[in-house]
């Protein structure tokens, strides 16, 4: 079980901030494919992953990152703080 978090418009499109996902995905990219296959709102949120950023266990990484031993994955658009 992995905690999957969504922020900003990703959260709005998917319609929830956080969920627990049972997955056998080896990488973030595989997890994204599983989520997209679920429902249209996931497919819409992940339509263009080049517009997204991902953090694994609260560290920024890329979509090739492995998921073995990971507790938390977060998807969000590019940051706009400051």
């Amino acid at each position: 079980m992995i905690d999957v978090l969504y922020f900003a418009w990703v959260r709005e499109r998917i319609g929830l901030p956080k969920e627990q996902v049972e997955t056998g995905a080896a990488t973030v990219a595989e997890l994204v494919e599983e989520l997209k296959a679920r429902e249209e709102r996931y497919a819409a949120a992940f339509e263009d992953v080049s517009a997204l950023r991902v953090a694994v266990d609260q560290e920024l990484t890329d979509f090739d990152a492995p998921l073995a031993g990971v507790r938390e994955v977060a998807f969000f658009p590019p940051m706009t703080g400051g």
Partner: protein, 147 residues
């Protein structure tokens, strides 16, 4: 080296004063303050600043540690708010203290450039026309290449 991520307002004057005063080891203190800017039409009602609790603090601490490693700094400080902000409200501040002004300036610019594109904050603007997520600027991402 301090990071504070908070919903409530901060007292800029008191923070800058406390950061600079009684410091005779660093002749140069630079402070950057980010303020909610109104739209050109002046119709911004509010801004909601979303963040990623837990990751935010760690990302900011990492950016500070990197700045302390790259420049001769005696101290640095980041304060960043989340939640509801209105035009003219202070969003965030960074401060750096160094024996040399070049180091204090560069480190403050570095903190800002990294914070903009690497700290998990997202702004949504609410105007009389509706609500919109602020898009990241290419120039902000490009700014990182110079460091």
């Amino acid at each position: 080296m301090t990071v504070r991520v908070q919903e409530q307002a901060f007292d800029l004057g008191a923070e800058v004063q406390a950061f600079a005063l009684g410091r005779d080891d660093a002749g140069a203190v630079v402070n950057f303050t980010g303020i909610v800017r109104n739209t050109p039409d002046g119709d911004l009602e509010r801004m909601e600043m979303e963040h990623y609790p837990g990751m935010t603090e760690n990302a900011l601490k990492g950016i500070e540690a990197e700045a302390m490693k790259r420049w001769n700094l005696k101290d640095c400080l980041i304060i960043h708010r989340y939640g509801t902000l209105r035009p003219g409200d202070l969003i965030m501040m960074v401060a750096t203290a160094s024996p040399h002004r070049g180091d204090a300036f560069e480190a403050a610019m570095f903190l800002m450039d990294y914070l903009k594109s690497r700290a998990p904050f997202w702004k949504k603007e609410y105007t009389t026309d509706g609500a919109e997520w602020v898009a990241a600027k290419d120039e902000d991402e490009d700014a990182l290449t110079k460091w």
